[in-house]
């Protein structure tokens, strides 16, 4: 019995030693990260943010998120690496140390913009004619070029390439401007009134309608990028509040709901046609979508189907405003 107890004790001590040893080995890696964040990473990010604020320049949310994640070394490293790319440690410390020179500070602002352009490439490509990969590549090339500027000629060359990329990604003759955006928002805010009635009851609905009306009024005073950013922050809060009432659903649920909706819509349009009222081609369109909704769809076909349904519903509501 004593021997057994003794061996158990030895085993426990050995396990304890092993786990402590493993812990001791894991400390240095974390410690290195913590030390880097405390002494270089966080102060650099903070200096860059301060510099942008001094220039009355935008502070990308990604940069603020990196600073806020300083308490979690892994999160800090992951965010910084995905935003700035490889070699980010060197880049941010070099950028932060050059901020005293106004010209260098302006170039840091350009690099922050390029990092943001690259990380938002997918979203920008949804409006731009240039695809996301090309936007990302363009931002990376410009970023690289910006780091090797030594002379005035190289600086001019860089800005010429930057202007070229801008014109390609955001062409002057196409793409939405602020007035298009205002019109789009106005239409969406009108739809939101109906959505509030469907999704929210009672006092909460009344409060949301007040917020909606305030957003509509504030929209009129947006004349530039700063006001737009401030308005979007208010809109995000409002949208978050409204969507907290939304019912969660997966693709198959939405497909089933869309199918039921199309059955009703098609029946109604067929009745109209039966009564001699021209449905203006909507009956045939709804029939085609109804057939698709009964099929098993790939994610890409689902997206095409939903876009088609959304478009059909929008056109019907424009054609028959009271429907």
């Amino acid at each position: 019995m004593r021997i057994r107890l003794g061996s158990l004790l030895v085993l426990c001590l050995f396990c304890g030693f092993l786990s402590q040893n493993a812990e001791a080995q894991s400390i240095p890696a974390d410690q290195t990260k913590i030390l880097f964040i405390e002494n270089v990473g966080l102060p650099s990010v903070r200096s860059i943010i301060r510099s942008l604020e001094t220039q009355n320049a935008p502070v990308p949310s990604e940069l603020t998120a990196i600073a806020e994640s300083a308490g979690d070394p892994d999160a800090f490293y992951a965010l910084a690496s995905s935003y700035f790319g490889t070699g980010w440690q060197e880049r941010i410390s070099r950028d932060a140390s050059s901020l005293m020179d106004p010209e260098a500070a302006a170039m840091v602002r350009v690099r922050i913009y390029l990092a943001s352009l690259g990380s938002n490439a997918e979203r920008i490509a949804r409006t731009s004619t240039v695809d996301a990969n090309e936007i990302r590549k363009s931002a990376q090339n410009l970023m690289r070029q910006s780091q090797y500027i030594r002379s005035d000629d190289e600086r001019k060359e860089f800005y010429a390439a930057f202007a070229n990329a801008q014109e390609k990604i955001f062409p002057e003759e196409s793409g939405p401007d602020l007035s298009d955006f205002r019109m789009e928002v106005t239409a969406l805010l009108q739809e939101i009134v109906d959505a509030i009635d469907i999704l929210v009851d009672g006092m909460n609905g009344t409060s949301l309608k007040k917020d909606q009306s305030a957003l509509e009024q504030q929209l009129a005073i947006i004349t530039g990028n700063q006001e737009l950013t401030a308005w979007l922050a208010r809109f995000d809060t409002f949208a978050g509040k409204l969507l907290s009432y939304a019912t969660a659903a997966n693709t198959s649920m939405i497909l089933a709901d869309a199918h039921s909706l199309l059955v009703q819509l098609h029946t109604y349009l067929t009745q109209l046609e039966g009564q001699g009222i021209d449905s203006q081609g909507f009956m045939e369109e709804s029939a085609a979508l109804l057939t698709t909704s009964a099929e098993k769809l790939s994610p890409a076909s689902f997206e095409t189907f939903i876009t088609g349904l959304e478009d059909l519903l929008t056109r019907i509501s424009q054609q028959f405003p009271s429907s």
């Binding site: 935008p58 302006a106 979203r123 401007d177 004349t223 939304a246 909706l261 959304e310």
Partner: protein, 104 residues
């Protein structure tokens, strides 16, 4: 007959297992039942939420596009590089510049 503690233990385990299995299956089938019995109003709510979220996301993407275009113009303007007439007209109309805030 006196039952051994092992038998009692096994009996309890069996009971717990049967109850857990029953709860598991009732959960699954119960969920399916509610899904098929969804009211038209609930279906409308779900579709409304879905389309609303899509539209809001699209609108935010547009905002990101506009914000980056404006900031890009501003940076070119600050660089002192001569701008095209259309560019400079647009840039001077915007009072400041901003990059996107977080997405939804």
């Amino acid at each position: 007959m006196k039952k051994s503690p092992l038998m009692i233990g096994l009996g309890i385990l069996l009971l717990v297992g049967v109850t857990a299995t029953a709860l598991f299956f009732s959960g699954i089938f119960g969920k399916n039942d509610t899904e098929t019995a969804l009211t038209p109003q609930a279906q409308t709510e779900r579709l409304t939420s879905f389309f609303l979220l899509r539209k809001i996301k699209r609108l935010r993407d547009r905002a990101v596009y506009i914000q980056h275009r404006e900031e890009g113009r501003k940076l070119l303007e600050l660089s002192g590089i001569p701008l095209t007439p259309a560019n400079s007209a647009e840039s001077s109309s915007s009072s400041g510049s901003a990059l996107p805030t977080s997405s939804l």
